[in-house]
Amino acid sequence: MERLKLVLQYFQSNSESISNGICIVLALVSVKLYTSFDFNCPCIPQYNKLYALGVMFVPPLIFFFLGILVNRHTGVMMEECLRPIGKRSKNPAIVKYMFTAMMQRALLAPMVWILVTLLDGKIFICAFSRISNSDLSSHVHCNILSLSQKTTELLMAKVPCKEDMIFRNSTFRKAVSRYVRCYSQAIGWSILLLLILLGALGRLIKPCFDDHATNLQTRYWSNYLDIEQKLFDETCVLHCRDFARKCVVQFFEGMREDTVLRLPLSPEVRYNREEDMVDQEEERLHGITKQEQMDQLLETWFKCKPELDITKMAYRPRVCVTWEDHNGKTIYSDV
């Protein structure tokens, strides 16, 4: 339990590791699905290959789509790609970086499925059990070579099916299965080796071609976009809540039958609401109090994103007060 909590906390620490976590979960789901899937080779000459290759390639496609769908960065990337320029210039390198990262993550689960399929061998045997006569003669000793072409085909198509009565306890079937499985595993291991080599080479050689400084910038701004999107959503939710609360309270107060008069503030009267609550709520509303304002805000957020310059907010000028007595002499000053 503690371990699980630690692992979860680690993965939730930043958005990149969340994506990595989801990617790994999908890969594990892919393996689990393969082991629980009851593969049923049709053992009919015309359909074996079609079915087996279908099972080898359609689920990876499904996992690829799923990998792109569950990744949060897809939405961020699409929005960044499609937004009008407005006040903020667009950097294509950021979009490219996010795209490659997304593709790499989405391709993991499909590769895992294909590799597991090849290493297990069942599907390969189903697809390619129709090995040619020449191979047969060199590797397998038995007297089926005298049969006609069609019968040989039918027979070979049934090799993947252990239960068939023809092949009960047949060494021939086992030999053919072993042979095809070896092929399958060899291909599987080669693909794995190739991928790892590519990955290693990519990691080692990329720094020679890339400008590291630009890389740092690109990574920073792509992380920034992700966090900005999340914070915008959170702020919208908080704003929504305060907007709704004020709206409801206003509605209740509007239902009163009494008349309301306005008078100048008398120094003896003080509204006895808690100062903190008022400040907090008003702060969260940020002055947006009407539907049209909110609509305009949301439209502008997409059509004309604000410039990346918060100097004005960070260095808000403070009002300095100077107290002078009736002679003009300074008693106290904030300056």
Binding site: D38, C236, C247, L261, S266, E268, V269
Partner: protein, 355 residues
């Protein structure tokens, strides 16, 4: 137990993840129900097809409707749809968005059922074993000798291992393998179709309507939160209303009792909520000190409930209708509408600052 608690906390953290949680639970329930369900094909030519296809199609419909039932947002959607326009304009895109998101969530459990059923293959086998091309799987010489009806009856028995009695005529394993393959191919194809549809909707949608989408998402969330806050405010108001109403009732009875026992009510039992906490035990008794008095209170509560009209407490002889600073300490007071109909309309003073 700890695991469940953590999961529940995470799921309840916000509305969306709560709905996603329910969606996930229903999908798991659907898969679990399928594995727990004992599929038994009737193996009779007339009923095979209905049973097989019925099992493929009816539970998904049931799960879909259940998804709608369990989703709180359905009543919200209905309310928003049916309300009169009034002062707030209705936005059809918001309604559409809400409907689409509810439908998307409800479709997951049916999809899981259909994929699991197709991958397993039993229902397909049951439904389509009669349509098999017997010459592909059977011994032609033996088949020639059988009548049409006999062939069909035999084909219908293929899904049932126990009662299939003619292995020489048809190879049962080969036939069931063939149909299972077709079923699994359909299953994978169905999954691919659903995933690519979801992909189109989710990943390609930003190309078309991103700004409008942000708007509709915000306002649909707003409607949900507003409804919840309205309910909360109503509840709080009802609590306060009830408290004050009951206090006034006790006081009115205690007032009667006091006049009977020739006592004068000394404390100004103000109906100000803040003072409740400072009241001592004596004040909490609200002037009722004897068994008979209490009995009268309880009897009258049922036989003669007080009207739903809170009275504003008036210290004797003072009018609250003055506007000057002396009348100012009344301030806006949360007591609601419907005060006694024979009171004149009161004037409240609201103060604003010139700053």
């Amino acid at each position: 137990m700890d695991k469940f608690r953590m999961m529940f906390q995470f799921l309840q953290s916000n509305q969306e993840s709560f709905m996603n949680g329910i969606c996930g639970i229903m999908a798991l329930a659907s898969a679990q129900l399928y594995s727990a369900f004992e599929f038994s094909c009737p193996c009779i030519p007339e009923y095979n097809y209905s049973y097989g296809i019925g099992l493929l199609v009816v539970p998904p419909i049931w799960f879909f409707l259940l998804g709608f039932v369990l989703n709180n947002n359905v009543s919200m959607l209905a309310e928003e749809w049916k309300r009169p326009t009034g002062k707030r304009v209705k936005d059809p895109t918001v309604l559409r968005y809400m409907f689409v998101s509810i439908t998307q969530r409800s479709l997951i459990a049916p999809m899981v059922w259909i994929s699991v059923t197709l991958m397993d293959g039993k229902s397909f086998l049951c439904a389509f074993s009669v349509d098999l091309d017997i010459h592909q799987f059977g011994n032609s010489t033996l088949i020639e000798g059988m009548s049409e009806v006999e062939i069909i009856t035999l084909l219908a028995k293929i899904p049932c291992k126990n009662i299939f009695d003619q292995p020489n005529v048809i190879s049962r394993e080969a036939a069931s393998r063939y149909i299972k393959c077709i079923s699994q191919a359909f299953g994978w194809f169905f999954l691919l179709l659903m995933t690519s549809a979801a992909f189109m909707i989710r990943a390609i949608r930003p190309c078309f309507t991103q700004a409008a989408f942000l708007k509709t998402k915000y306002w649909s969330h707003y409607i949900d939160i507003e409804r919840k806050l309205f309910d909360e405010t109503c509840k709080e108001h009802a609590k306060t209303f009830a408290k004050v109403c009951i206090q006034q009732y006790f006081e009115s009875v205690s007032g009667e009792m006091r006049s009977l026992h020739k006592n004068r009510s000394s404390e100004d039992d103000s109906d100000n909520d803040d003072d409740d906490k400072k009241k001592g035990d004596k004040d909490k008794l609200l002037g009722i000190h004897a068994q008979d008095d209490m009995n009268k209170v309880l009897w009258n509560w049922h036989t003669c409930k007080p009207p739903l009209a809170l009275r504003k407490e008036q210290p004797e002889g003072e009018s609250r209708e003055g506007l000057g600073p002396t009348g100012a300490d009344s301030g806006p007071n949360g007591l609601a509408n419907g005060h006694a109909h024979n009171d004149p309309k009161r004037e409240w003073a609201v103060y604003y600052s010139k700053v």
